[in-house]
């Protein structure tokens, strides 16, 4: 039995059992309830429809743009803050308490306050997404610098490194794996909070907005298409980052 399960065709077939069962159940339920339950066939046609009229492409691009803009703002700031806090204790003492206090609030929980300040719209969404990207970048970068091994710093001492050389040749490269982990997390968080803020503000275009609209219109078929696209995109972006990470960290011994 175990040997059988190790073969990939067997695994593939067995792995398809549960999803197929689910679809079957769903189709069967759909014919019973008709209204809210969209059968799989309806989902496929909804996908075709959304692809044809360009709605899906527009929403996807809008969400991607928001998530990556937020990442582009939040992650570099987070990495810079984390590294500065890791290197210079006074910066840590100055910024640490404030940032750690702000971090405790669920990111989307900032939406009402920031919405009150800047109005519900693009700016508010971007701030929340940037904040979501900021914190994981900051925390991991900070840990990365703080965890640099003493023995490497001693080597810097032996060769009379200046502060700048120590940062450039030891602290930054040694922290790099965790910095990249932070950015990867930041990406995931930015992605989630983009969908979340879009759902909550429901303005303009975006996958979250499309979900919200589908919910109001009771269009399960559209909803499922959008959820599927969200999942697939999240997965793809993650894979992309994993590749990027591997090529940036060639110097690390191969991991499992």
């Amino acid at each position: 039995m175990k040997d059988q399960l190790a073969r990939w065709p067997v695994r593939l077939v067995i792995g398809l059992v549960a999803p197929l069962l689910l679809i079957f159940l769903w189709q069967w339920q759909a014919s019973a309830h008709s209204v809210t339950f969209a059968p799989p066939v309806a989902v496929a046609s909804a996908l075709a429809e959304l692809l044809r009229n360009g709605d899906l492409l527009r929403d996807t691009l809008a969400t991607l743009q928001r998530a990556f803009t937020g990442l582009a703002i939040g992650a570099p700031l987070g990495v810079a803050a984390g590294i500065a806090m890791g290197i210079w204790k006074p910066v840590d003492r100055l910024l640490g308490p404030l940032l750690h206090a702000l971090r405790q609030v669920p990111m989307i929980g900032w939406l009402p306050l920031i919405g009150l300040w800047f109005g519900v719209g693009e700016g508010t969404e971007l701030i929340v997404v940037s904040m979501s990207a900021f914190f994981p970048s900051m925390l991991n970068s900070h840990a990365g610098v703080a965890q640099v091994e003493r023995r490497y710093l001693e080597v810097g001492g032996i060769y009379r490194f200046t502060t700048l050389q120590r940062i450039r040749f030891i602290l930054l490269p040694a922290a790099m794996p965790l910095v990249l982990t932070g950015i990867t997390q930041a990406l995931a968080f930015a992605w989630i909070s983009t969908i979340g803020t879009e759902l909550l503000t429901g303005a303009g275009s975006g996958l979250g907005v499309a979900m919200q609209t589908a919910q109001v219109q009771q269009r399960l078929d559209i909803m499922l298409v959008v959820i599927g696209v969200t999942a697939a995109l999240g997965f793809l972006i993650n894979q992309l980052f994993r590749r990027l990470r591997q090529s940036l960290l060639r110097w690390q011994p191969a991991q499992s």
């Binding site: 023995r151 490497y152 001693e154 080597v155 001492g157 032996i158 060769y159 009379r160 490194f161 200046t162 050389q165 040749f169 030891i170 490269p173 040694a174 790099m176 060639r250 110097w251 690390q252 011994p253």
Partner: protein, 284 residues
């Protein structure tokens, strides 16, 4: 004069003329649980320029601490530590060190690691690549310049660390159990390499080890230390020219002597306490 002066010979002559280490009345204590505990007690030692000195002793005799003090990694001591008459107050490019763990930066290639040591020397940039290549060749690692440390075997990484330590042409090279983490066969191989390198460089070397055979094979003199607190117990002259033959009877006689010294006397009483008792057996 030779129209094509061999760089290695110049270097050897220059190094041989310097690198006299003087240790006198050196004391060192650590705070352990709020109480100061003496680690090194009244160490006196003169190392001649170009000499290879081995230090052996049981773990905890302070031999690695002594080396860290000479390197300038720890500057909190009382007594005198001088290299060519200058008091040691911090690290310096005059003193190289090789640690037990190679401490090559994992994010740099072998070549980059070695070149990094030249960062703060006044070696002209144009000559650095050549000097790095020479030293990589010296430790027999030609062809591995672009390898990352994790791609090197333990022995290769340790030789690379030796190349990095030598590239600044230090007057004094400190070796802190440099072969301690290697397997027995690799160790013999790197010992031979180390002897060859020292004969080529003729810079002063001080090596800490717990392997008496290794200490005798490489050292002009072997310093035997005893623990609690760390003291010099005996200094053994090894009157054999280099390169040496491992089978030399003198080496074996001295080895037996030193081992007897290390495992007898004051230590014996202590090691009796450390014996594992098997109460259940004794009760029967």
């Amino acid at each position: 004069m030779n129209p094509h002066p061999h760089a290695r010979e110049d270097l050897a002559q220059a190094a041989a003329s310097r690198g006299a280490l003087t240790v006198s009345g050196l004391d060192k204590s650590f705070d352990i649980g709020g109480k100061p505990r003496k680690i090194l007690d009244g160490i006196n030692l003169n190392v001649r320029p170009g000499e290879f000195v081995s230090i052996v002793g049981a773990s905890g005799c302070g031999k690695s601490t002594l080396l860290r003090l000479i390197a300038g990694l720890d500057t909190d001591y009382s007594g005198e530590l001088r290299l060519d008459g200058d008091r040691i107050a911090t690290t310096s490019l005059d003193r190289g060190i090789v640690f037990q763990d190679h401490r090559l930066f994992p994010w740099m290639t072998l070549e980059q690691n070695v070149e990094l040591a030249l960062l703060n020397t006044d070696t002209p940039k144009s000559r650095r690549a050549q000097i790095v290549a020479d030293h990589i060749a010296l430790v027999n690692l030609k062809g591995f310049e672009k390898a990352y440390p994790h791609q090197l075997s333990g022995g290769m990484a340790q030789r690379a660390a030796i190349a990095r330590a030598l590239v600044t042409e230090p007057k004094l090279l400190l070796l802190d159990e440099p072969l301690g983490a290697l397997d027995a066969l690799t160790r013999v191989h790197v010992q031979n390499e180390l002897q060859r390198i020292w004969m080529a460089q003729r810079s002063t070397m001080v090596m800490v080890t717990h392997d008496v055979e290794e200490a005798l094979y490489l050292g002009d003199r072997v310093i035997v230390m005893s623990p609690n607190p760390g003291r010099i117990r005996r200094i053994v002259e090894v009157d054999l020219p280099h390169p040496r033959d491992r089978r030399a009877p003198l080496l074996h006689r001295l080895k037996d002597e030193i081992l007897a010294e290390l495992t007898s006397g004051a230590d014996a009483a202590e090691s009796a306490d450390n014996l594992v008792h098997l109460p259940s057996r004794e009760a029967r």
